[in-house]
């Protein structure tokens, strides 16, 4: 009996100390903008599995995409021509913890600005106005989100993405399977684990361009403005990012990058997206 009490006491002590360890959030107190200017480097959390936005090139091992180019251009705006952009690949699940821990300075990873997220992080103004769509096999009877609002329909999404939350609103009867990243979700769609894959149109067009048997349908049932996320209390850094984004929009760099990545994507109206 005494031994059990002994054990329980230790259990209590360890649990309490672990609890305090995990409970305290450590939003970095330092000024990110100042630190980045000193080190001449901005560390971005980006996607590595999302065609057109951020994708790892198998041949070179380098990341490529609209967000990568935009992040590089913004880094040069902020730090000057010698400024360096470092990229850390993130997923929808790892990006916020990494930002809060200070492993990355900013997230530019197809992250929709939502009120829930704004409680935890700060967003810049939107740098890409995506809308949510569906990817289905060509010839599928599914034409829009309402078609999926039936018991037995399975929708694939990526865990941590805003689009899976919208599904609960627009097609509450469907079952949603959340996978860890877009590569898994696309693979699962191909192996018939679900009838449709939902996320933002830009990402879906990227997938459709690589998988000819699949098409984007469903129109645009929600608005998904992407913002760059930074930690709370980093006003100077956020203002600087907004300022850099505006400059790139004004001097035509933004439109040039848009044309480079989305100009040839079938079905994607890049003229509408010009700024």
């Amino acid at each position: 009996m005494k031994k059990i009490w002994h054990l329980l006491t230790i259990l209590g002590i360890v649990l309490v100390s672990l609890g305090t360890l995990s409970g305290c959030s450590s939003v970095a107190k330092k000024d990110v903008l100042k630190a980045d200017q000193e080190s001449n480097r901005i560390t971005w959390g980006v996607k590595a599995d999302t065609r057109l936005f951020g994708l790892e090139n198998i041949r070179t091992g380098k990341l490529e995409g609209f967000e990568i180019d935009l992040a590089k251009a913004m880094t040069k705006e902020i730090l000057g021509p010698k400024g360096k952009a470092t990229f850390v690949p993130v997923t929808s699940s790892t990006r916020v913890p990494l930002l809060k821990n200070g492993n990355i300075d900013a997230i530019m990873a197809t992250m929709t600005i939502t009120p829930e997220r704004e409680k935890q992080v700060d967003f810049t103004k939107s740098y890409f106005d995506a809308v949510q769509s569906l990817l289905v096999k060509k010839g599928s009877p599914v034409k829009n989100i309402q078609d999926l609002n039936k018991a037995g329909e399975v929708i694939l999404g990526v865990s941590g993405s805003n689009s899976v939350k919208n599904v609960a609103k627009y097609a509450p009867k469907a079952k949603v399977l959340q996978l860890s990243d877009y590569a898994q979700a696309m693979t699962a769609l191909k192996s018939k684990q679900g009838n449709a894959l939902t996320t933002d149109n830009g990402i879906l067009y990227g997938m459709a361009s690589e998988n000819p048997g699949y098409e984007v349908v469903g129109g645009n049932f929600t608005k998904e403005p992407y913002g760059i996320a930074v930690n709370k209390n980093q006003e100077p850094f956020r203002n600087k990012l907004n300022w850099a984004l505006e400059r790139l929009e004004k001097n035509g760099t933004y439109n040039r990058l848009l044309l480079k990545w989305f100009g040839n994507v079938k079905g994607f109206n890049y003229q509408e997206m010009k700024r």
């Binding site: 599995d49 860890s180 696309m186």
Partner: protein, 217 residues
């Protein structure tokens, strides 16, 4: 068939091998660290030092009984709370080391326990200190006894590195996912490649262990 030929282009194979290299690097580093730390912890637990052994033992039990995925999250997302901000590869090594050390500690403890206490008594009677008895008499025999368990633990470690894809560690499994994520025709070829590559690494580890076992005897 065409899929297989296309999937095994030199570019893809090279990409897989780069991943394999990271897997091996991380495995070797974690095996070394967890062997040292685990042996140390196992001895502490065995030694029954007041309070220390009980606390160490309990923490080992906690870690041993949690899924490795959680340990990975705790290390990668939790350590920065106490001021350590590891990059992805050190973070993966740390997480694996924490988890595997606790497994090794348990193996070491039961390995030492399996040696008849009479031997320690004999050594003490012959004028050796307790530490000398442990180091010179008990441990060498114990290590031989625990070799099979240790090796299968280290094989598990190699396999477990694949779980670190969840924090985007660029190892073998992650690289395979990148390849078949970009062209879903490559799913089966990639899984075949994964199975073969992991099998080669793990099986050679167990062959090495068998060889050591025979030649240490």
């Amino acid at each position: 068939m065409q899929n297989f030929i296309n999937a095994y282009s030199w570019i893809n194979i090279r990409f897989l091998l780069q991943g394999l290299w990271v897997t091996i690097e991380i495995s070797v580093a974690s095996i070394i660290c967890s062997f040292i730390i685990g042996t140390f912890l196992g001895i502490i637990r065995y030694a029954k030092i007041k309070y220390l052994s009980a606390i160490v033992g309990f923490i080992i039990d906690l870690i041993r009984n949690l899924p490795l995925l959680l340990i990975i999250f705790f290390t990668y997302f939790g350590l920065p709370n106490i001021g350590i901000k590891p990059e992805i590869i050190p973070a993966a090594i740390m997480a694996l080391t924490v988890f595997e050390s606790s497994m090794v500690a348990e193996i070491v403890r039961s390995g030492i326990n399996s040696i008849d206490y009479g031997q320690t008594e004999g050594a003490l009677a012959n004028g050796l200190t307790k530490w000398q008895a442990l180091r010179l008499i008990v441990l060498p025999q114990a290590i031989k006894n625990m070799l099979p368990a240790l090796v299968s633990q280290f094989i598990s470690l190699v396999k477990d590195t694949s779980l670190a894809t969840i924090i985007v560690l660029p190892e073998l499994m992650y690289h395979a996912q990148i390849i078949y994520g970009q062209n879903t025709n490559y799913i089966i070829p990639m899984f075949v490649a994964l199975a073969v590559l992991y099998f080669i690494v793990c099986y050679s580890l167990s062959l090495l262990a068998r060889y050591l076992d025979r030649h240490l005897a």
